[in-house]
């Protein structure tokens, strides 16, 4: 009696030590074991913290001009120097992190949602519907991305951060639609989906509850990688004068506004560029780490 109960407790304790190693934990452990991914997570966390704490961190108002202190080198007063209007570069970079994160996340959210709707329905229903939708996606895919984004902005005729975000998002819809459709096609044939259909679950519910979870992992990897790319592309378009408008403290626009002063005041261009580089590297490292961490499970599937 006692011995059985002991053996049961042993079994239970074994079971309870084994049980918590859920898929999520395995992924997390794999992710943390990857040195690059950890560095990436730290970098991104840093940028996120800077964005949240901006009002506390920035010593000056990012658009406030100090005409007497134009193009000052980095010092105790201005940590990263000042630009041609005497604005504090450090404060501008701190506030710029809010804009960059927002653009990177919103642009991806927009294209993921649309790509998901298109990819899910096309992949699930298949047939002629799928054929037509995916041909159309192929056509959008046939445009070089930056060129398409530039021309969308040009043809709409509005130069603002919002339109840059929308242009970048439109360009990426086909990529997400293809990715999601691919995962749906392989998930559609799984026995439990067929079972759900047999017991009369509605299509929308099958797609949402049973197919979508299969798609989350690969999409997550691409989203993390693309947040970095979106941040860089937004900066590039602002640098070309098509995105954020002065006096917004957007990193690309900061470079556009100050590049002519680079010879005498190199700090005006060095720091905004480093901010972009660090943020993009952070997201890329996380994306790579997630891909490796999620990979074993994908192969098992």
């Amino acid at each position: 009696m006692t011995s059985t109960s002991t053996s049961q407790t042993i079994n239970n304790s074994q079971a309870s030590t084994r049980k918590p190693t859920s898929w999520r934990q395995i992924v997390l452990r794999q992710f943390l074991r990857n040195r690059g991914a950890t560095i990436g997570a730290v970098l991104v966390l840093l940028v996120v913290l800077v964005a949240i704490l901006a009002p506390m961190l920035a010593p000056y108002n990012p658009i406030e001009m100090h005409p007497k202190d134009r193009l000052r080198p980095p010092s105790a007063q201005y940590w990263m120097g000042t630009d041609h209007y005497g604005r504090d570069i450090f404060s501008r970079i701190v506030y710029g992190s809010r804009i960059s994160l927002q653009v990177g996340i919103l642009a991806n959210l927009f294209s993921v949602i649309l790509g998901m709707v298109i990819g899910l329905t096309a992949g699930y229903y298949g047939g002629a519907f799928d054929g037509i939708i995916m041909r159309f996606m192929d056509m959008i895919f046939a445009f070089p991305a930056t060129l398409l984004a530039i021309s969308i902005i040009g043809l709409i005729g509005k130069r603002s951060l919002t339109w840059v975000m929308i242009a970048i998002a439109i360009v990426w819809i086909p990529m997400y639609a293809r990715l999601i459709r691919g995962s749906v096609l392989s998930a559609r044939e799984l026995p439990y989906i067929e079972a759900a259909r047999l017991i009369g679950v509605r299509d929308a519910r099958i797609m949402w509850r049973h197919i979508l979870p299969n798609v989350v992992a690969p999409v997550l990897v691409v989203v993390t990688l693309c947040i970095g790319v979106a941040i860089r592309n937004t900066a590039a378009l602002s640098f070309l004068g098509m995105g954020a408008q002065p006096p917004t403290p957007e990193w690309g626009l900061m470079l556009y506004e100050t590049k002519q002063f680079m010879r005498m005041a190199p700090w005006v261009t060095i720091f905004p560029g480093m901010a972009i580089l660090i943020t993009v590297i952070g997201f890329n490292l996380i994306g790579d780490g997630l891909r490796t961490a999620l990979d074993p499970r994908m192969k098992v599937d």
Binding site: P144, L147, I156, G157, G252, K259, T269, L277, I281
Partner: protein, 310 residues
């Protein structure tokens, strides 16, 4: 082989037509009124603008306008610039050389650096060489090209005076822009070369090649690389769009009078026909380059030819 190329060529036609329709729609549904735009430019009154609208056929139904667009395209007419009053095709043609020169030089640098670092990293897996190469690749693929361009100008032109700052023409002017385009694209290539070579290196046929006593160089060059190159070509093909985007931005920084400069200026001055023309031609070039890449696979990998033949 000829049959495969023929098939792929045919499949390009609907995509190209679709792209032309999309470009037309972007213009048609854009809130821009070209007649009003020109009217503002030449200070016309409301009646003159209305006449202009009729003259340009902007009051016609959608399908008629679309038909006209294709009729003009068929004879190579992309319209005229609102600003410079020159045929769009001529304006693009005049700048094509500058852009091609930079795109090709940049791509060449990217392929050379990517191949060398990728192979080195794979052959010395987990060594300091590998780590170093991959850190470089990480920086390369995350680097904002316009910033790298500014930093290179600062270092090599403004401070060291080794190279001219801006402009175009000779090799000296091409070096910095090409390196910027090349470095930012090399990262992705290096990583692909490394991972595909690592995958191939553990295959049985490589062990067989070793067992029969081939020299290591022969094994890598003749047996491993040939298979490792297929994913690499895919990545290069996929990244051609990114190269075109990079060229646009880099041209602006280095003040090169190429197509990038043209399209950015046209967007900023609302010169719609030029924007439309550049996007259309850019996409067609992109489609055909991808077709070329597909054919290249078939040449490299007999399996693709056979499966498409069935």
């Amino acid at each position: 082989m000829t049959r495969y190329i023929g098939q792929r060529l045919l499949s390009v036609i609907p995509t190209a037509l679709g792209v032309a329709v999309i470009v037309f729609c972007l213009m048609y549904f854009s809130p821009y009124d070209p007649a009003e735009n020109m009217g503002n430019m030449y200070h016309l009154n409301a009646e003159q603008i209305q006449n202009l609208r009729l003259e340009m056929g902007l009051d016609r139904p959608f399908l008629v306008q679309l038909g006209n667009w294709f009729a003009h395209l068929a004879v190579g007419d992309l319209g005229s610039s609102y600003v410079q009053r020159l045929p769009v095709l001529d304006m693009i043609g005049a700048r094509l050389g500058t852009t091609l020169e930079l795109a090709l030089a940049g791509m060449l640098i990217a392929i050379i650096i990517g191949l060398v670092t990728g192979v080195m990293a794979a052959l010395k897996e987990n060594s300091i060489w590998d780590t170093g190469a991959m850190i470089l690749a990480l920086f390369g693929s995350a680097m904002p090209d316009f910033w790298l361009a500014l930093m290179m100008i600062y270092l090599f032109a403004l401070n060291l005076h080794w190279l001219p700052i801006l402009g175009q023409g000779d090799l000296k002017h091409l070096i910095m822009p090409a390196i910027v385009v090349g470095l930012t694209e090399a990262g992705v290539i290096a990583r692909t070369v490394r991972s595909s070579l690592l995958e191939v290196i553990h295959e049985d046929y490589i062990r067989t090649a070793r067992a029969k006593g081939l020299r290591e160089r022969t094994i890598i060059a003749r047996h491993a690389m040939r298979n490792a190159l297929i994913p690499t070509i895919t990545i290069i093909g996929i990244n051609l769009g990114a190269v075109l985007g990079g060229v646009v931005v880099v041209e602006i920084v280095f003040a090169r009078e190429g197509i990038g400069r043209l399209v950015v200026d046209s967007v900023l001055t609302a010169d719609m026909p030029v924007v439309q023309g550049v996007v259309l031609l850019g996409s067609l070039v992109f489609i055909f380059v991808n077709l070329f890449v597909d054919v290249l696979y078939a040449v490299m990998d007999p399996r693709i030819r056979i499966s498409s033949g069935n």
